[in-house]
Assembly symmetry: C2
Homo-oligomer: 153 residues x 2
Amino acid sequence: MDYSIGEVSKMTGLSPSTLRFYDKEGLLPGLGRQGGKRVFDDDHVRSLRVIECLKSSGLEIRDIRKFMELTTKGSASYAQRKTLMEKQRAKTLEQIDEMQQTLAVLEYKCWYYDEALSRGNEDFATDAPANLPARGRELYKRAFPRDGEEGAR
Amino acid sequence: MDYSIGEVSKMTGLSPSTLRFYDKEGLLPGLGRQGGKRVFDDDHVRSLRVIECLKSSGLEIRDIRKFMELTTKGSASYAQRKTLMEKQRAKTLEQIDEMQQTLAVLEYKCWYYDEALSRGNEDFATDAPANLPARGRELYKRAFPRDGEEGAR
DNA sequence: CTCAAACTTGAACTTGGCTTTAAGTCAAGA
DNA sequence: TCTTGACTTAAAGCCAAGTTCAAGTTTGAG
């Protein structure tokens, strides 16, 4: 099945100009034309899904291009492609860890402002986590695990 | 305790120019000077930790500035600050979900290239997930949950 | 007093990833 | 035949978040 750039745009959520940009950057090797117009097929749409995934794992366009070039080399590049996927998997796991840490801080802050709101002041947090209520101390420990004493506003 | 820009740079991992940039952008309200030089204290260092957190939750500099302005308004802004933290918490949860989805695709791809490498070809994945080995079908389902048939290279 | 290290400023520059613009082509339908 | 909508190109523009630059100031040691 073949698609126009507009159809692929709707299928992937990427704008036509982004698709042209990706093509120009070499992310869609072997993309053909008919009457000057780009003709996409299901393989291209699948490639775009992988591109999106590599992008969210932190790969830059030029590195995605290198990967797409590898896919044109068939079985000769399996090992390199596998290595790249493993590297991105590891990076993604690290990123998830960092987001969990960010989340812990935000949960503490949500509790903190909830508490401040119901008390009318932030005095409960002077010298935090020392004189914090149990719930707050718990959240604080998760948010700032490597932190002995001191206040946190 | 007071610190120079260089000390704070080492404490936070942010470059001196980034700290000057943050100051210029209003992210450190009330930052003082002595002899023309910026003087940071522990509160500023704590603010920088929160700034980092808001940044990784997806807030832009201008919105972080708005938040820091709120913190200068004391108890009058508790409700707004709480609302903002809750919004960022929700955003962060969504981001973690997306990263898990990305991870699932990468895990499938790791398996895929491992398999391709040991077989010497990708024929096992023609019409995936149909004729995939059990392990592969499992990973495929997690990677592409809303996907009935068709191959995936 | 002199020197080096660390700081100051405003302005220009960089990077990545698109998006916009301008001018033109192509195919289908009235 | 004319119009309309979707497409084409190259080049320029945009944005966020810093970074770099050039020129000057402050501070403490020797």
